[in-house]
C-alpha cells in the first residue's frame, strides 16, 4: 500500500510560489539597485580622484622597482660588512626610535589622564546636567575628529620644532578618543554601587571614586594600552611635520632617494611596532582575564 502524500491544493500552491517569486524578485531588484549605486559612486569618485588606469599601468613598474631599489647590496662573503653598511645609522636611529616610543608614551599617558577626568563629566548616569554632558561630549568629539598631525602642524608653529608639539598633539587626540571610549564604559557600569554611595551620603567625587572607578579601571587600562599601540604608529610619522621622532629621518631619506636608508628605517619601525603590539596584546589579555575574575 502506498503512503498517501498530502498534496496542497493547486490554488494555494500557486499563491505560495508566486509569493516566493515576488520575494526573490524584490531581493534581486535591491541587489541590482545597490550594485548600480555602487558602480555610479565608483565612477564619480574615480572621476573626482583623478584615477587614471593608463597612467597606472604605464608607471606600475616603478612600484616593485622602488622596493627592488630598497634592497641593499648583499653577499654572503661579506655579510657582516654589508649589514653594518646598510644599518650605518643604527645608533642614531635607535635613539630616535626610543624618542618616538617616549613621545607615544608621554602623549598617551597625558591624554589618558585628561580623558579619565573628562569621561565622568560626559557620562549621563553620573552627571545630572544635560548641558555639561553635551558640552564635554562635543569638546571630546572635536579633539578626536581633528587628525593629530593637523594639531601637530599648528603646534609646531606655537611651540617650535621638536618633540613637544608631537607629544601635545598626541595627548589631545588621545584625550578625545579615550574620553569617548571611557565614557561609554562608565555608562554601562552597574548602577547599584553608585546608588549605595549616594544613599550613604557620599559627595559626587566620592560617588565617582568608590562607586564608579573600581568597576572601570581594568577596562580603562585595556583601552589606554590599545591607544598606546595606535599612538606609536602616529608618533612614527610626527617627524614628517617636524614634531620629533624618527619620522624626520624617514622623510629626509625618502625625499633624497636614499633607498637603503628608507628600507632600514622602515624595517626598524615595523619591527618596533610588531614588538609593541605583541607586548600590549599580552597585557591586555591579562587585564581582560582579571576583569573576568573580578566580576
Amino acid at each position: 500500500m502506498r503512503a498517501a502524500i498530502p498534496e496542497l491544493p493547486q490554488a494555494r500552491l500557486r499563491e505560495l510560489t508566486d509569493h516566493y517569486a515576488s520575494a526573490v524578485a524584490e531581493k534581486r531588484r535591491q541587489l541590482w539597485l545597490g550594485s548600480a549605486l555602487l558602480v555610479g559612486a565608483v565612477l564619480a569618485a574615480g572621476w573626482m580622484g583623478d584615477v587614471d588606469p593608463w597612467k597606472f599601468s604605464e608607471n606600475f613598474w616603478r612600484f616593485p622597482a622602488y622596493f627592488a631599489n630598497m634592497v641593499p647590496k648583499f653577499s654572503f662573503t661579506s655579510a657582516w660588512a654589508d649589514l653594518s653598511e646598510w644599518f650605518w645609522g643604527l645608533p642614531r636611529w635607535t635613539r630616535l626610535l626610543g624618542d618616538t616610543l617616549l613621545i607615544a608614551y608621554v602623549g598617551t599617558l597625558s591624554g589618558a589622564i585628561g580623558g579619565f577626568v573628562l569621561c565622568f563629566l560626559a557620562s549621563a548616569n553620573l552627571v545630572r546636567s544635560r548641558t555639561i554632558v553635551f558640552l564635554t561630549r562635543r569638546a571630546l568629539e572635536f579633539c578626536r575628529t581633528v587628525p593629530e598631525i593637523v594639531f601637530a602642524l599648528i603646534f609646531v608653529l606655537a611651540f617650535g620644532l621638536g618633540p613637544l608639539p608631537g607629544v601635545l598633539a598626541l595627548a589631545i587626540h588621545t584625550m578625545g578618543a579615550l574620553g569617548k571610549q571611557f565614557a561609554e564604559v562608565v555608562e554601562n557600569i552597574d548602577s547599584k554601587p553608585i546608588e549605595g554611595v549616594a544613599a550613604s551620603g557620599g559627595s559626587w567625587l566620592q560617588i565617582v571614586r568608590f562607586g564608579a572607578v573600581p568597576q572601570v579601571l581594568s577596562n580603562f587600562a585595556s583601552y589606554a594600552l590599545l591607544r598606546f599601540e595606535y599612538n606609536v604608529r602616529g608618533a612614527a610619522v610626527m617627524g614628517f611635520v617636524g614634531a620629533g621622532g624618527i619620522g624626520q629621518d624617514l622623510i629626509e631619506a625618502v625625499r633624497k632617494f636614499y633607498f637603503t636608508d628608507v628600507s632600514a628605517i622602515l624595517l626598524l619601525i615595523v619591527a618596533t611596532i610588531m614588538i609593541i603590539d605583541f607586548i600590549t596584546e599580552r597585557v591586555r589579555h591579562h587585564l581582560i582575564g582579571l576583569q573576568g575574575a573580578g566580576t
Binding site: V42, K55, Y105, E141, F142, G160
Partner: protein, 284 residues
C-alpha cells in the same frame, strides 16, 4: 543585627581582622606600578628634552591663533570652491581606498584564516605579510605612491588601498576564524567539498560582519584621507597644510570646520548603513 557606626566599628574590626587589614602585597604592587608609570613619564620628559618653560609661551601663542581663527572665513568664493573640490577629492580617496583595500584583502584574509587554509606555513606567511603591510603608516605609503604615479589624489587612493589591505586582511581573517563551524561541517556531511563548505557554510555568516567593518573603516579612512595631502597625495590636507604655513588662520578654521562636517556626515551615514546591514542579518 548590629548597625555599623563609629562606636562598634572597633569591635567589628577586632572580630574580622582579615577584612580590615590592609593588604601590603596589593598596596606595594599598586605603588610600584604607579611609580614605574610616573618614572617613565618623567624620564620621557627629560630624555625628550621638553622645554617646559616654552609651554606657557606656546599656549599664549595658541590663544592668539585661536582669536585670529574666528570667524571661519574662506576669504573668497574661488577659494571656497577650491576647498569644496578638495573635499570631494578627499571623499573619493576615502571611498575608493576603502573599497579597493577591502576587495584586495578579501582573498588574502581567506589565506590567513586557519579554518580555510589549514597549511601552517601559508597561514604564517600570510599573517606576517599582512602585519608588515599594516605596520607601515598610510602617510609612508602615500610617500611611496607619490613617487610612482606622481602628485595628486590618485596616489592617495593607492596609499589607502595598501594600508587598508593590511588592516582589513587582519580583521577579516579574525572574523572568518571566529565563524561557527557547524554550517561548514553540515555541508561537508552532505557531500560538499572544501570549497563548497567555504562558499555556502562560511561566507554567508561572515559577509555582513565584513561589510559592517568596511563601513566602519570608511569613516576612519575619511579622517586619514584628510591628512595624506600633507605629503602631496591630494585632497583637503594639501590646502590645509598650505594655509597653516602661510598663517591664514581664518581659512584654516574654515577648512577644519569643513573636515569636521564631512567626517560627521560620513559617520552618520555609515552607522545608518551598518545598522541596516546588521539588522537585516538579525531578521534573516
Amino acid at each position: 543585627m548590629i548597625a555599623l557606626n563609629s562606636e562598634n566599628r572597633a569591635a567589628i574590626a577586632a572580630r574580622h581582622p582579615e577584612i580590615f587589614r590592609p593588604s601590603w602585597r596589593r598596596r606595594s604592587m599598586i605603588v610600584t606600578g604607579l611609580g614605574a608609570a610616573v618614572g617613565v613619564f618623567v624620564f620621557g620628559i627629560v630624555q625628550l628634552d621638553i622645554p617646559l618653560n616654552r609651554l606657557s609661551d606656546g599656549i599664549f601663542m595658541l590663544g592668539g591663533f585661536l582669536r585670529l581663527m574666528l570667524p571661519p572665513d574662506p576669504g573668497s568664493w574661488a577659494l571656497a570652491l577650491t576647498c569644496l573640490h578638495a573635499l570631494g577629492e578627499t571623499l573619493s580617496i576615502a571611498f575608493l581606498g576603502t573599497l579597493g583595500g577591502a576587495l584586495l584583502a578579501f582573498p588574502a584574509s581567506l589565506l590567513a584564516a586557519r579554518n580555510v587554509v589549514a597549511n601552517r606555513i601559508i597561514h604564517f606567511l600570510a599573517r606576517r605579510s599582512l602585519d608588515t603591510v599594516r605596520g607601515v603608516d598610510t602617510l609612508i605609503w602615500a610617500l611611496i605612491w607619490v613617487g610612482v604615479v606622481g602628485l595628486g589624489p590618485f596616489a592617495g587612493i593607492l596609499a589607502l588601498v595598501c594600508s587598508d589591505f593590511g588592516t582589513f586582511g587582519k580583521l577579516f581573517s579574525e572574523a572568518i576564524e571566529a565563524a561557527d563551524k557547524k554550517p561548514v561541517e553540515g555541508i561537508q556531511a552532505a557531500g560538499g567539498n572544501h570549497l563548497h563548505g567555504v562558499r555556502f557554510g562560511l561566507l554567508p555568516q561572515v559577509i555582513p560582519i565584513l561589510l559592517s567593518q568596511v563601513l566602519y573603516y570608511f569613516e576612519s579612512n575619511t579622517r586619514s584621507a584628510t591628512i595624506i595631502g600633507i605629503v602631496g597625495a591630494g585632497g583637503i590636507g594639501l590646502q590645509l597644510a598650505e594655509q597653516i604655513r602661510v598663517l591664514e588662520w581664518q581659512k584654516v578654521s574654515f577648512l577644519i570646520l569643513l573636515i569636521l562636517v564631512a567626517v560627521s556626515a560620513i559617520d552618520w551615514m555609515s552607522s545608518r548603513l551598518r545598522f541596516a546591514i546588521i539588522g537585516r542579518r538579525a531578521i534573516a
